[in-house]
Amino acid sequence: MTLQLGLFITGQTSNSLRAMENLRRICQHELNIPCEIDIIDVLEHPQIAEDEKIVATPTLVKRHPGPVRKIIGDLSDTRKVLLGLGILQNSSAGRMGKEEGAGNERE
């Protein structure tokens, strides 16, 4: 199984650069499965952002396997990224589950 990811950034802003760097690190060190990364600069491809309804940048989209999930931010919170990708299950991170619960409440 290959993880297909899309990372939406806006030019060379510090958030964009950090997000690319963090994603590279996570793919290399945290994930045991191969991933395809598609980096989309919305300044150059606004229509793709339109089609995928991207509002915030950076946004990481897990396109495959489904369901589609979006993770926003510069990806500096590794645990949240893994949770968002469905790699890290709540059971494998007991204290994480608690944290995410708090996050949901805020939303």
Binding site: L43, A49, E50
Partner: protein, 509 residues
């Protein structure tokens, strides 16, 4: 005047009925305006109308950024106003940016972010259709999607500034929780707009009353206070620009007949063509008969007449008119008469006003009668009734036709009513119809209370109603106080009268 105008920001004509008047010319050009209001106050309709009117009246294209309603729902909802968003969208006149949250999609936050992607998409849409107008509806829906409200506020501020540089005029709608609380939720107003409109939808004495207020326009003038408006399925939002109504009425020397020859004589040859006449009297004094005469005078001259009936049905009116040998039915068939019979309670006064104005514009009558105007008091608060009367009067004056209103007084003898106090100053002529009790017999008296711009007969004339209608006969002599409803008789005549009255009966005894 010219000096103060030099500093004023340029405005963009919106094309929304009444708005350009109360805003002294439209929305501040290339700025953002926040439209705040409670749920159901008409924000979205106003905002989308801004886009549609741009295309229809100014050939200006627009972008609609929707945060709350999916584009399909949005298009379907406004289709009822006759706005074909779908084809406007297809023809590249209006672009839609869908910023609604995806149903069931989880969004995780993992670090710092901003809303640059949204800005890029808006910019892209503006370029694509070469837009001059942008709507963000409603930005409140953006807040629950993100954990940090500060980021959203900051980004909205950034978007508003960027839009200004792009040379577009923007409406941002935002929900507020209640009519008297904070201006907008999440403190948006402090960050976003130099210009704020407030839409209200209050319940006043069991009647809904919608108003719009321009709270501020930075660096530009506007009319102050709340203006009533209505949301209507033919035109969307229509604002009634009351105090902005100009007293710029033409004056005509032409006279038209009232339909009662003796009354024409009394007022020196008939009503002025562009005057407003108020006929005031208790029930049964012959107001509707007078209206019938008035309408017939137009029909006989081959002119169109419009009757707004608020108390009787079309069938009743037609039947009663035929008793006076006036054939309403064939006049309607010939296109000389239009009767609109509608109970005042069926809708709000703003809607009534809109419908009457529309009838006038469509039918182009030379005279209009409202029978009775006072019945409309029931359909609103005293304030909105007053506004209704003023707006209706000024519209009739504007188109330069004759208007005859009837007013039912509550007291049989004498007395005044709200309608009289409200509109006596804006009518050109007041005709009083009164019951007069003389020597134990009910008779009827007519007086012209005022008539602008001409001499009129000051007598109180007795009139009778027979099979041919209303006839004015002699003047009441030797009687005072008819108008107050408590007549007193002059002594000399009184003694004669008493002698007559009892003389007959004494001889019988």
């Amino acid at each position: 005047m010219s000096a103060s105008r030099a500093f004023e920001l340029e405005k963009l004509r919106t094309g929304i009925a009444g708005f350009d008047q109360i805003s002294n010319g439209g929305l501040p050009l290339n700025r953002s305006t926040l439209v705040s209001g409670t749920a159901g106050s008409g924000k979205t309709v106003l905002a989308l109308q801004f886009l549609v009117m741009g295309v229809q009246t100014c050939a200006e294209h627009g972008v609609c950024v929707t945060f709350e309603e999916a584009p399909e729902d949005l298009m379907r909802n406004v289709a009822s106003f006759g706005w074909d968003f779908e084809s406007l969208n297809r023809n590249g006149q209006i672009a839609i940016v869908d910023a609604t949250p995806e149903q069931g999609e989880e969004m995780v936050e993992a670090g710092a972010y901003d809303l640059s992607a949204l800005m890029v998409r808006i910019e892209n849409a503006i370029r694509k259709v070469n837009a001059k107008r942008v709507v963000l509806d409603s930005v409140g829906a953006l807040f629950p999607q993100f954990s940090d409200a500060n980021v959203v506020r900051r980004e909205l501020h950034r978007i508003a500034s960027a839009l200004r540089l792009l040379g577009v005029t923007t409406i941002i709608t935002m929900e507020r929780l209640d009519e008297d609380g904070g201006l907008a939720r999440f403190g948006v107003e402090e960050f976003v707009a130099d210009n704020v409109l407030v839409l209200r939808n209050r319940l006043e004495q069991e009647k809904r009353r919608r108003t719009i207020e321009i709270l501020k326009f930075r660096g530009a003038t506007h009319q102050k206070g709340e203006y009533p408006f209505t949301v209507d399925h033919a035109e969307g939002v229509t604002i009634i620009p009351l105090s902005a109504i100009e007293l710029k009425q033409r004056s005509s020397d032409l006279r038209v007949s009232s339909g009662v020859p003796e009354l024409d004589q009394m007022c020196g040859g008939g009503f002025y063509r562009d005057s407003i006449i108020l006929v005031s009297g208790a029930t049964g004094t012959g107001k509707t008969l007078m209206v019938t005469h008035y309408l017939r005078a137009a029909i006989e001259r081959g002119e169109r007449a419009l009757l707004i009936a608020a108390e009787e049905s079309r069938e009743q009116l037609t039947r009663n008119a035929s008793n006076w040998n006036v054939d309403f039915d064939s006049a309607e068939k010939e296109g000389l008469l239009r009767i609109i019979a509608r109970y005042p309670e069926t809708m709000g006064l703003e809607d009534h006003l809109l419908y009457i104005q529309r009838e006038i514009n469509e039918f182009q009558p030379s005279r209009i009668a409202v029978d009775s105007l006072s019945a409309f008091e029931r359909a609103g608060t005293p304030k909105s009734y007053r506004e209704f009367v003023i707006a209706l009067t000024s519209h009739i004056k504007k188109v330069g036709i004759t208007g005859l209103f009837t007013n039912t007084t509550s007291m049989l003898m004498g007395g005044a009513s709200i309608t009289e106090t409200h509109i006596s100053t804006i009518t050109d002529m007041i005709v009083l119809l009164r019951y007069v009790e003389l020597y134990g017999v009910m008779r009827r008296g007519l007086a012209i209370l005022k008539m602008r711009g001409t001499q009129h007969d000051k007598d109180i004339r007795e009139y009778v109603i027979d099979g041919h209608g209303m006839h004015l006969v002699s003047t009441f002599r030797d009687v005072h106080g008819i108008l107050t409803g408590a007549p007193t008789y002059m002594f000399a005549r009184e003694r004669d009268h008493l002698a007559e009255m009892f003389g007959g009966s004494q001889s019988e005894l």
